[in-house]
Symmetry: C2
Subunit: 476 residues, 2 copies
Amino acid sequence: MYGVILAGGSGTRFWPVSREQSPKQLQKFVGSGTMIQNTVQRLLPLVPIEKMYVGTHHQQALETLRQLDSFEFSSDHLLAEPCSRNTAVAIGVMAKIIADKDADAVMAVFPADHVVANSENFIKVLQKAKSLALKDFLVTLGIPPTRPETGFGYLKQGTEINSFKESYHVEQFVEKPDISTAKKYLELGAYFWNCGVFVWKAATLLEELQKHAPDIHSQLTTLTGCLQKSSGKLAHLEMNEKGCEIFSSLPSLSIDYAVMEKSSKVALVPANIGWSDVGSWNALDDVCEKDSSGNILTGNVLARDCNNSIVHGQNRLVAILGLNDTVVVDTQDALLVCAKDKSQDVKKIVESLNEKGHSEGKLHATVKKPWGSYTVLDSGPDFLLKRIEVLSGEALSLQSHQHRSEHWTVASGSAKVDRDEETFNLKVNESITIPKNARHRLSNPGSELLILFEIQFGNLLDENDIMRHEDRYGRC
Amino acid sequence: MYGVILAGGSGTRFWPVSREQSPKQLQKFVGSGTMIQNTVQRLLPLVPIEKMYVGTHHQQALETLRQLDSFEFSSDHLLAEPCSRNTAVAIGVMAKIIADKDADAVMAVFPADHVVANSENFIKVLQKAKSLALKDFLVTLGIPPTRPETGFGYLKQGTEINSFKESYHVEQFVEKPDISTAKKYLELGAYFWNCGVFVWKAATLLEELQKHAPDIHSQLTTLTGCLQKSSGKLAHLEMNEKGCEIFSSLPSLSIDYAVMEKSSKVALVPANIGWSDVGSWNALDDVCEKDSSGNILTGNVLARDCNNSIVHGQNRLVAILGLNDTVVVDTQDALLVCAKDKSQDVKKIVESLNEKGHSEGKLHATVKKPWGSYTVLDSGPDFLLKRIEVLSGEALSLQSHQHRSEHWTVASGSAKVDRDEETFNLKVNESITIPKNARHRLSNPGSELLILFEIQFGNLLDENDIMRHEDRYGRC
């Protein structure tokens, strides 16, 4: 079986931990890894790593690949989408890639940011779904509801499918209900949550896509022809210019809307697998272990007289006193304190920040770059201090600045510095100054992480004061 | 009139903003200045700055003087107490200093960390108290209670004093009552809060001290003889070795217990002055302006659906959502989130931190030094990054380190660096390396603040790895 993991999503509801540049699936909330690492781990008994594919936004491609490195995930199985176009187009492209490789392939599709507590049942359910897929069904997993949830779509169970026990036709796809309808569904018992996990033959999906979404299907051959390997060590699949143009011109539809709601081949397999979409901070209550007072405390936390509260901290000391049903999320540059029953509204906080032009809605204090990351540690009217991390073997662009000079000191690892016509090799406790307008490039030739402190000097210290003369990540 | 401001107190109840090294009176909560600045400002109509004296713990002496610099407060009017001995000894020493200078002096005593909303009434009440003091009364201000407070001692009003309107003998000093007694006092109306403001002739106080606390009084002449001027620019009064020994051997008594409760000369002046001792975070409700939802928001705060909450933030973004009656206090290295009605228990958090040996209970991320301050910005296994601020004209000790080398870069201002036999003058964007064991000294010869980044390298990076060869603050 092939696996396709959809790792899009901006994850505003887990702000300030998740931000546009580092959404929920790349964060760790429960279990041993990040959400996408846990997703891959969970599938391994059924899908070997060389049959897994991942689709993600191009901005998250490198970080996603780095997180999957320990699984020996093949970087050219990652499709970097040029823009967000919901699930139908991405699934179509990946079904085409897989079908071209293996005409009879059965593929399963998974969101990257859900939790499945019962992995064993999950594998059994997928195996059942696979046998239905081999009979040309488009199989969707249905989660038996445990509460009158108004945030999900529902699947109404139809008649049992001949010769398949506990597998059903789908009578109806139902949009997110109001609360009284959701309560009715919960009582009636023939309604399931649509959890976004699908199993089908790639060929069947393509046929149904042709029938129900021909505008998307008609471009798939061209689109896969536009795929190329990106440059750099973690070479992945990206669209060439023509591909980007086509991709972004296609309708932004979910696969449910484009195909599942219209196809007569849909089958439903009930899946009692301890599923949670972990849709907001309070959802951690369903998936994390609690202390004897019902608290979930992560980080350096001191709690006194607190109940049913969630703290997600980092290094900083967080002291909580007398709190009930409160969420505290502490990050380097932004803090959220939220009543648990309001945690669905965190996205409104993010909207509000974005409207006001505050970067904290989108970027972390530590900004990821193709070569590593930087963090602003301090600043004054005429100076700015950054911690720069360059990954082993990576290099920043060959660049120059019009308005600032820089002073670099190596704190850990080793650096190669090109400055105009000269090249320097710097070890720990060695420094160099980069004058205004000097062409320079910082690289990490070593096998360890390079940590370097940069002090910028000038009266215009701006990320935009950068002229790139050469760049291995195509950013010139 | 002479003024004596008592600026002791460790202020654990305003943690994490106030810490042992920077207690409540040095912090800004309401009004235009820190609490001690507001206290001085409030007294100026009645007490000229050259007649003001301040007593504080020696650790806070320099910072206190810096905060009073703009008032042109004379640094030798600050008495640095070698240890905490409650109020009786400190008041006794300062009464002796004042009486030696001016035999008929009337002195008033004020805590440094209270709020008085009605300054005009305050001055009137003090003038009335002064006229009583001139008749040899020990006058104490009594605050008409506005709630059944169990956290204060009470004064029971006695008969009116002949020829002084609305001034009374004190029938009884009452210890902190239980809640039902406090409610009774509020109903009865002849009970006042003891707010710790006193007015008397220095000579009268000394006589009464001799009568009621002869063990303290008998040492006052010796103690004032042991006072000497400290070295450095902000030369203040400190005890010599003998003085420290005597001071610390004296009983730790409040002036209430040592004198007021025993003396027959006590008078009470009711003081309707909008007083608050600002004893905990929730007390800000009584003294700060609120927004239309009853919130008090300081710092970079985004609030949504919040009521009656207090946020005390700094630069970091604090987003609050759906909170009621909650206190959020954000500092660089520690965060407090607390139910408002539990804010009296913040001191228990501090106790708990101290028991566990966490420095956050006592020290701020920015550690004050006689010459300025330092802040640890980042660290790794073999490096540590500090921002160092050196005040104009100040200098660190001549020192050396056994286990680390250092790299310094000037970010703002200018530095003079002595390194073994050489001297360097560094401007912005200039650097120097200090090898292990080199004798070195950093000074700020300029008129601006010096900001310098120090990167330490070594496998033992510890504040204790410092050998002082010479120090202008007597720390060798």
